[in-house]
Subunit: 104 residues, 4 copies
């Protein structure tokens, strides 16, 4: 296992700049961001909830669903990186530690 599995530093910096420009830091407590993350994940769940597993594998063949899924995955990533950022957590280190043979 390498010690570099992901790099989100540019996204983290962009989100910090966005929050500063809009004065959103006051709302970005870990508690609020965790709730927002739940909301974004839920939109993904709703996309698949009435599909069978087989249907869910083909969901992105429909261009409109594919666009919605891309947007929702992006939103989850954005809130995940923002939450880790305000908590001071290095996501790459956390993932490497989680996937290391010792942690399995």
């Amino acid at each position: 296992m390498t010690d570099r599995l992901l790099d989100v530093t540019a996204l983290e910096a962009a989100l910090q700049r966005f929050a500063e420009e809009r004065n959103w830091q006051q709302y970005h407590s870990p508690k609020n961001l965790a709730m927002a993350l739940t909301g974004e994940v839920e939109e993904l769940v709703e996309t698949f909830q009435w599909l069978t597993e087989e249907q869910s594998k083909c969901a992105t063949r429909d261009p409109k669903t594919a666009q919605a899924v891309r947007d929702e995955l992006a939103d989850v990533m954005i809130y995940l990186v923002r939450l880790a950022s305000v908590l001071g957590v290095d996501l790459n280190e956390a993932v490497v530690a989680k996937l290391s043979p010792n942690a399995q």
Copy 2:
């Protein structure tokens, strides 16, 4: 805005290898992975639910909570990258599109 905000290709490849080695692909439908993602996010929410916003900002001062939060953030990232992978979605492209001035 740059066109490279994040890079998860090494993690995506590692997770694909893990799934193949354990014959987990049969379980990794988008439907199941979206549910699993919800579960991981929920563990984060539970960490913060009885804290005030101010307390949530200091939650990681306690080493045990800090470790738990790192593990939970890592799990969310792992399932998010795996879900995007089985759906064939490029997370960097999706995030760049989402944050582009035209999409705001």
Copy 3:
């Protein structure tokens, strides 16, 4: 503790009739209903996520928010009773057992 804390039999029967009339039983697996329940709860969470706790206590002073919250609470109840119904669980018995002194 009494042995009768809640009664949802009329709602359970109404939902069964609705599902039969619309031929929805095929979609109403526990797996799908649990996902749908998550979605309804999430709409509640979104109502409160950017509010402080104090603000959340006053959220229903605004008539439009109050109506939205009533609708979302109703949806959660509807899916909860439907899920228990397809699983054959008696919700009153389950709640009485959970709140009994022995279970605490």
Copy 4:
């Protein structure tokens, strides 16, 4: 449609008494209770996430799973009724309004 689909008044009173006895009211903001409700629903989702829909229909044949599912359904009901209570929402009225022919 009748105007009485459910009755949770005894449970609502029991939960109010529990909260008063334990001085929990300070934690029971709608924001916190909505997060807690999410957590309880998530435990249900986790029960079913790696099952197929067909398997999910038979999940309660296993006595241990059946007990876990009963407990989780009870927890969702408890938090749902408590949340409605602190918000001053009459759940029966809300459900009747939601299912009325005009609201469909």
